[in-house]
Symmetry: C2
Subunit: 395 residues, 2 copies
């Protein structure tokens, strides 16, 4: 059966085996030629050629019609056969569980969000996830046997063994082992990583960081987080807490933060802080989206709010830049929808606080600042990516 073949090829081998690398290259970008794969994986063309013909014989890879305008013999475009399997990405959020269903060619087939009370229990989560997945497969008339695995994006630090750490932002989940919680119910391979690392993975595989080996993802949502990718690998940190930019202490005498410290960056540039100030100004409840809309429509007050957040973010990134010195910053999360209203002051503030100034470098070497491609679905897409890339598997 096809799915078993795919599972074998994807999972029963070394993560770094040539086959796995080819499949990863295919699952990353849409339609690619054999020689493109050879270049991006570093494998010999002959190797890729052989592997591709195997995969085509098993019907896991199909040739796609494309017109390539260039010189020379036109390349055959290959793509994973969307029929070959499906995977699910699930976000275990603070007050919601979100589920994305995609095929192996990473086409999104469904994407649903289920609000939950805060501090929901693991038992409740397993029921909700199982129920949602079953319904999705029924609705779309898909065979559950085609599900290759479920990836979890977790809102909080995660130990490498898949245990949620006590310091998590999901307090009721401290010490919970994801594999033993979900595997018996789902009966499928389980993958998991930190929410921010998933977001970075999504940008690497299909987004603003495609083909980039080193970058910093900076996420301005209700909280502030991010991820560091170096040499193509997401840094996890010894406690799974690398990239927690939101809790850099930038004002030791500043206001108290929910983490127990004072003056964390998050207090100055999170969407929560922006919304809270906006509510004072409007005299009523509001949302990030509304603030961004109002600012885009010319309201200078809200523009200033966004600019102040950008200023603080740039100061934080200046520190990050002095330490990591990455060539690319991807600004993501709800606030990033503000676009240049946020990015322009952010860049200016970065330049002011960073060690290396624009004049010290060629234009090309100066770090780039771009917004992410998946601003609010990056975690779930990254969780799908975990399954396709076979990274972060819990065993």
């Amino acid at each position: 059966m096809i799915n078993d073949d795919l599972k074998g090829l994807l999972y029963e081998r070394e993560v770094d085996s040539p086959i796995a690398r080819v499949v990863r290259a295919l699952s990353g970008h849409g339609a690619v030629s054999a020689s493109q794969i050879a270049r991006s994986t570093g494998l010999a063309r002959s190797t890729v050629s052989t592997i591709l013909s195997d995969l085509k014989r098993s019907n896991l890879v199909v040739e796609v019609e494309t017109r390539s305008p260039g010189l020379g013999r036109p390349a055959l475009a290959h793509s994973l056969n969307p029929e070959a399997g499906t995977c699910v990405g699930a976000l275990l959020g603070l007050d919601e569980i979100r589920i994305t269903l995609a095929d192996v060619a990473h086409n999104v087939l469904a994407d649903i969000s289920m609000p939950l009370e805060r501090d929901y229990s693991p038992e409740r989560a397993t029921r909700v996830v199982r129920h949602a997945i079953e319904n999705l497969y029924k609705e779309h008339s898909l065979p559950y046997s085609g599900l290759l695995g479920v990836g979890f994006a977790v809102s909080g630090p995660l130990a490498p063994n898949g245990r949620i750490m006590r310091a998590s932002v999901l307090p009721t989940w401290g010490g919970i082992d994801l594999k033993s919680t979900f595997a018996p119910v789902l009966q499928k391979p389980i993958f998991a990583d930190n929410e921010s690392n998933c977001a970075a993975l999504a940008e690497v595989m299909w987004g603003a960081a495609a083909g980039v080996e080193d970058f910093v993802l900076f996420k301005l949502d209700l909280g502030v987080g991010g991820a560091i990718v170096a040499n193509g690998k997401v840094l996890s940190g010894s406690s799974g807490a690398a990239g927690e930019f939101g809790h850099m202490v930038i004002e030791p005498q500043g206001p108290l933060c929910r983490c127990g410290n004072r003056g964390c960056l998050e207090l100055y540039c999170s969407a929560a802080s922006v919304v809270s100030l906006a509510q004072q100004r409007l005299g009523r409840a509001t949302s990030v989206a509304e603030v961004v809309t109002l600012a885009s429509n010319g309201d200078v007050g809200f523009q200033r709010l966004l600019a102040d957040a950008g200023e603080a973010a740039g100061r934080g990134l200046g520190i990050v830049g002095s330490i990591i010195n990455p060539p690319l910053f991807i600004i993501s999360g709800g606030l990033a929808k503000a676009g240049e209203l946020l990015l322009a002051p952010l860049r200016a503030s970065y330049e002011k606080h960073a060690l290396i100034k624009r004049q010290d470098l060629d234009e090309a070497a100066y770090p780039r600042f771009v917004t992410g491609r998946f601003l609010d679905n990056d975690n779930c897409m990254g969780a799908v990516g975990l399954v396709l890339r076979h990274s972060g598997r819990l065993t």
Copy 2:
């Protein structure tokens, strides 16, 4: 000829070839058995066995006498043949050039420092380096043909191609290409990396980080710098400026720093800042070493000076820890000689400012803070390591 064999084996192959990995394992640790090498390199025992017998036939590797107390057949200890070649590490410092001569088994044969006027020219440096190396080889009756390569540790950011960046702390060297400057004079392979990266390499190969894949080196010298090692690789950053912890802005309204920003960490915890305050107290010129001695002898004033520096350093490292979350911090540089007088307040301050508190973790998962093994010779030893490891070669 032996040296040509070694050069061939070390350099004419891929950096990641099995032979290179075996040689690296040998050059790293003193005497190792075949199976130890197999374990640390991940190669098969049979592969290591074959390679070692080749190397022994070429007389590049010798068996060493050791008693291994363990169970089972005793291992044969192997070591690079010290007679097989020599290498030189050179520090291009702010106001000195320091040169270390070592054999391939990383025994230090000589170590000299030559003070120079600040802003010495590249021409002057080439003359000084050449002259010093020639003299050393003459004094020790060593053949110059045995010199395998010269590694340079550079005080400032270095582009990957070996060009010293304009933003360097060696202003007269901006834009200078190290390879074309030194290669014609020395007629040997040239290796180079940032001073701090060399220091990290020394600790990885022979020091406090031996066998550790992830750590942060934090260096408190006249300036404050460091390096980040993740997944066994030193992060260089897109402009060679990763690990510049000294220029994290921690007080945006603080005093001016030589880098052009305000309130850099370096202003609060560098040896220069400590010495400057100590001079005010003593009413005369002094040195780091003297301050450390006085404090160790019980002077509470100087103890407080060191504690304040540790406090500031811990605050900086708290930020670094929130971002990188490494399992190990190696505190190095002149100030680190103060030992616990510096480390105790540093740890306390880290705990106060870090995101993850001691109570959140098992004791084993909490980051360790140790002093480096090479407190003031790490750059030169690392430059030697560049040659032995064949990393950072300029071509």
